[in-house]
């Protein structure tokens, strides 16, 4: 049986299409947008202590000055960042850079390593130092840095990193919520 489009059907089809765009697409986008930052107490001991700040690539210099150029060269689309505190012992910052593709995230991770980096099981690849953890997952490059060094610092950072990874894992190619 061959379906033939009749002129009288056109308004109905257009109406259905508009309804899809108005009602379904936004909810789909909301599902696609993710917030990579764990809420306070979502990870034991960690409190989110600042609002999430977002920088488009063209504004990234406002946040990281000259560092911005290497991210731009690697295809950064945007950077989101938030501050955290762990049990009143240490403060940290979480930066999530959304690159245009996984190659950009890989480039930043690999060029930024120093010889004392320890490989860790996080995302597609990750490294850790005494006071920082960096990993990539698809187009995302995550950097978590603590400002203090305590015996618990690395363990605490890894717990937070796993929580961020989990949030990225569930929506591997989604845009970050702004």
């Amino acid at each position: 049986m061959i379906f033939r489009l009749k002129y009288w059907m056109l308004p109905i089809i257009v109406g259905v299409a508009v309804a899809l765009i108005v009602f379904i697409a936004p909810s789909g986008c909301k599902k696609g947008k993710i917030d990579p930052f764990p809420a306070s107490d979502a990870v034991a001991g960690w409190q989110k202590t600042s609002d999430t700040r977002v920088f488009a690539a063209k504004d990234l210099w406002q946040y990281i000055d000259g560092d911005a150029e290497q991210y731009i060269a690697a295809g950064v689309v945007s950077t989101t960042t938030s501050d955290y505190k762990f049990k009143d012992q240490l403060e940290a910052v979480v930066d999530v850079h959304t690159m245009s593709d996984a190659a950009g995230a890989r480039k930043i991770l690999e060029t930024g390593q120093s010889k004392d980096a320890n490989t860790v099981q996080l995302g597609d690849a990750g490294v850790a130092y005494a006071q920082s953890v960096i990993f990539r997952k698809g187009p995302y490059l995550v950097r978590i840095v603590a400002y203090e060094s305590t015996p618990d610092t690395l363990q605490a950072l890894m717990a937070l990193a796993h929580a961020v990874e989990a949030k990225l894992q569930s929506h591997p190619a989604a845009a970050l919520a702004i």
Partner: protein
Amino acid sequence: MNNRREFIKGAATGALLLGSSAAADKMGLADMLDQYTETARSRIVVARDAALHSQGTQLDEKRVLALLDRAIAAYTGHDHPVEAWRRIVPQDKVIGLKVNGLGGKGISTHAALVLAVCERLQQAGVKPGNILVWDRTARDLQACGLTINTDPSRIRCFGSDVAGYEDQPVAFGSANVRLAKILTRECEMVINLPILKDHELAGVTFSMKNMYGVIQRPDQLHSHGCNPGVADLNRIPAIREKVRFTIGDAMSSVYDGGPGFHPERLWYPNALIVGEDRVALDQTAWQMIERKRVEAGVPTLEAAGRPPYYIATAADATHRLGVNDPKRIHLMEI
């Protein structure tokens, strides 16, 4: 040069005249600022205290004032700190303290240094309300551990995000910039309090590069390793004439991966670097970073292809901002 008397005597500028309007009137400010001629020798003091970070990564803040006093005494030849400061600053004008908090909490000008300078300024006769600690934004200042205050009866501390930038740009060479109103309208003199860091683009950020924080769009001067951007910017009269003294924070530093905070490349020179010659200051700072990079087993900035070219540019005949020839820098390490 390690003899203090020779150091003071050998300086081409003689006694410190930074705050002396009489001296400025007599010589002409332009003459004073053009003092860095071919025959000039520029004085730099590097004052160290190995015990600043003797307890791991935590700065012993109680030792900072004493280190500052030693540095200023060596630089001025006056053992009494208050007397020394009276020769550095005018007592009846607004003195700006330009810090650097861009790198975040881990690698910003230390609040302990800012507070030490503020204490000595007040003892030297500067009213609290005439001291203005500033940077680009409140966030930068808070990263230094400072508290925002706009009450004019106390030491003021706020950023250009509050005070704004001039509408009319000013230019020199590649720099066509809108200056912070704090610089142009509030401050008679600025003491530069940068923090020593490696810089991905510029090679080194210290005295001259800290002036990127006094303009609205520093990103527009990032090309070609910030060269000649840094030199051109420092040649702009308001910067060149008002920013006359640097107390550089080298108590902690990042020798690689800067200007952001990379704790794995953090290092503790435990030093203050003091001087008037912004080029000589940066030349000295650059050499410190190079020595540390060699020690840490990473390529020198020269070998990495990103030496701070802007330092030589700042010393050239077009800019004449200071001296970069190590033989013509009087370096006193204490």
